[in-house]
């Protein structure tokens, strides 16, 4: 069953349907330090249906983050097309929200000002922006921390601020770049569950980049395994686990274990290739 789309009275954005996402034959090259170009993405095809939660998983350094920066409009493809809602991406799309891998909250802004920053940048007046920020801080469980500075919070709390900061803009397409990578295992599980709760309330389309297979299967509707660079989609797996899910419990289901087995056998070759490459490069 698909989750219901709750309409948020404060933001008109939430009423808009989530867009689809299509990557068609995407090529991305980078110029290396020695002047040689390195092809990172080579003919990558990917389709995310409106409201779908897609996880991209692949070996480290395979260009997963590059895919996200292309979708966000921060970088342009050297070939192929990136379409959000059927339109080619050009520059930062107001419908798109991006939770970065590193801590990207503004250390000089209080928690409240951090979360209110998005609406403020988009021209909402201070009072309304702060009302919306309060609301989202409440949803991520940070009520009472409005006037703290990020350095006074733990890593998990800062991640919540980052989530609220992105979600307050009511993105219809949410990009998550290893959002919980810096956190310990327990905090990670809690955050995964909270992410699912928050997302089920918004109904946005999601692309999650991760190297954690359990996290990918537990969260997503489908998992795309990427090849070790130059990167393309090797195989896509539909995750037919029922929702709503509890990340802590779902890992013990028979179907989860089967899926884990299948995806891992597909992924492990790529991990081996990537690993061999790093060790030979070091010699």
């Amino acid at each position: 069953m698909r989750r219901s789309v709750h309409c948020d009275p404060e933001g008109p954005g939430a009423t808009a349907p989530p867009p689809s996402l299509t990557l068609r034959g995407v090529v991305k090259r980078f110029r290396g330090p020695n002047g040689r170009t390195r092809t990172v993405l080579d003919g990558l095809d990917l389709t995310v249906k409106p409201g779908e939660f897609m996880a991209l998983i692949g070996p480290t350094g395979c260009g997963k983050s590059t895919v996200l920066s292309l979708i966000s409009g921060a970088a342009r493809p050297d070939g192929g097309q990136v379409l959000v809602g059927g339109e080619p991406v050009s520059g930062a799309d107001p419908r798109t929200g991006f939770v970065f891998q590193q801590d990207a909250v503004f250390p000089w802004k209080t928690v409240l000002a951090n979360v209110a920053a998005g609406p403020r940048f988009r021209g909402v007046d201070r009072k309304d922006a702060e009302t919306r920020a309060h609301d989202w801080l409440h949803r991520v469980g940070l009520s009472g921390f409005e006037h703290y500075y990020p350095h006074q919070l733990s890593g998990g709390m800062r991640k919540r601020v980052a989530l609220a900061q992105t979600l307050v803009n009511e993105p219809r397409l949410l990009l998550l770049d290893e959002p919980f990578s810096g956190l310990d295992a327990q905090t990670r599980q809690i955050m995964c569950d909270e992410l699912l709760d928050l997302w089920e309330g918004t109904g946005a389309s999601v692309v999650l980049v991760t190297h954690d297979l359990e996290e990918a299967i537990a969260l997503a509707d489908s998992v795309a395994v990427l090849t070790a660079g130059p990167t393309a989609v090797k195989k896509e797996f539909a995750v037919d686990l029922p929702r709503p899910r509890r990340v802590r419990e779902i890992r013990f289901r028979q179907r989860f274990v089967e899926l884990h087995e299948q995806v891992w056998s597909c992924l492990s070759d790529e991990v081996r290739i990537a690993y061999a490459r790093t060790t030979t490069a070091a010699v």
Binding site: A74, G97, P107, W108, R122, F145
Partner: protein, 303 residues
């Protein structure tokens, strides 16, 4: 000239300070700023330090006075503390040759402040522009480097010729001295801004101006503020040296006259007033710094 590092922790990594608290922590579970137990010990230690500092001062001034009275050092050349004190009270009670003392101090202070303000504004503006716009940096860095290697204090003489003996020539010298100090730090600060923060701001909907004012500027601020202290020292130097080179008013003029009269006590008295002004201003800068950099983790108190 190498840019000075910010005084506290690196602004690029303001989070790596001490253990983070548990997730779901309550407000009182947060890292305390100092435990209650060692507070009395610390304040007692502080008292001892202040006493020691005062003792050093008394010993120095006493030794100077004693040696002068014992005729070990020549008062004609080296002056004596009581002479400095006499000179100061004369200036305070009956004014200087140029007018009341506070007026001279005010003139110097004005030159310092105006020049400092303009210099900081220009330094920050150019530093951030060149730090963010590569073409500008490529075009201008050669000339800025060259201008920086001029012994700038000499420009004071040029400014006296250009702008005359009034306040403008001193302000110009202060601006030149302050500018380079602040410029290099602002430049470095703007370059070192965390790329992720800029990307995040863009994605959240910030335009170019908003990125500049709300991301680049605050991020570079730790670097800029680090340069303000030294820059203020240069500002005072610029104002006083400017006056020494030729002026009708100001503390530098007092010092120059005392020098002309072979009156070392007058030189010291002028220096004393200048130093007091500079210290007061530095205190003000510290207050501003505390206010503006509240967001940064406190440096653990050094023993």
């Amino acid at each position: 000239m190498p840019a000075r590092r910010p005084r506290r922790s690196d602004p690029a990594a303001p989070h790596d300070d001490g253990p983070a608290v548990l997730d779901h922590a309550s407000a009182d579970g947060l890292r305390p700023n100092g435990t209650g137990a060692d507070r009395p010990r610390r304040s007692r230690r502080r008292l001892w330090i202040v006493c020691g500092q005062l003792a050093l001062l008394v010993a120095f001034v006493g030794a100077w006075q004693g040696l002068a009275q014992a005729k070990v050092i020549d008062v004609f050349f080296f002056g004596e503390p009581s002479g400095v004190w006499r000179q100061l009270s004369t200036w305070v009670q009956s004014g200087t040759a140029e007018g009341p003392l506070w007026m001279q101090a005010w003139v110097t202070f004005q030159e310092t402040l105006i020049g400092f303000g303009i210099g900081v504004a220009l330094g920050v503006t150019f530093g951030i522009l060149l730090g963010r716009i590569q073409v500008l940096a490529d075009l201008l860095s050669v000339y800025i480097g060259a201008a920086n290697s001029i012994p700038r204090i000499v420009l004071g003489s040029v400014f006296v010729i250009w702008f005359g003996l009034g306040m403008t020539s001193k302000v110009a010298l202060v601006v030149v001295l302050v500018f380079f100090n602040v410029f290099f730090n602002a430049f470095q600060g703007a370059r070192e801004v965390d790329h992720g923060l800029v990307a995040n701001a863009r994605q959240l909907g910030a335009g170019r101006i908003a990125v500049l004012l709300q991301v680049i500027l605050p991020a570079a601020f730790s670097w800029i503020i680090a340069s303000l202290r030294t820059a203020f020292g240069y500002a005072v130097t610029g104002a006083v040296v400017g006056e020494l080179l030729g002026a009708q008013q100001g503390l530098g003029t007092l010092i120059a006259q005392a020098q002309g009269d072979f009156n070392p006590d007058g030189v010291y008295a002028g220096l004393l007033v200048t130093t007091t002004l500079a210290l007061a201003a530095e205190g003000a800068i510290t207050l501003v710094e505390r206010r503006l950099l509240r967001w940064r983790p406190q440096r653990p108190q050094s023993p």
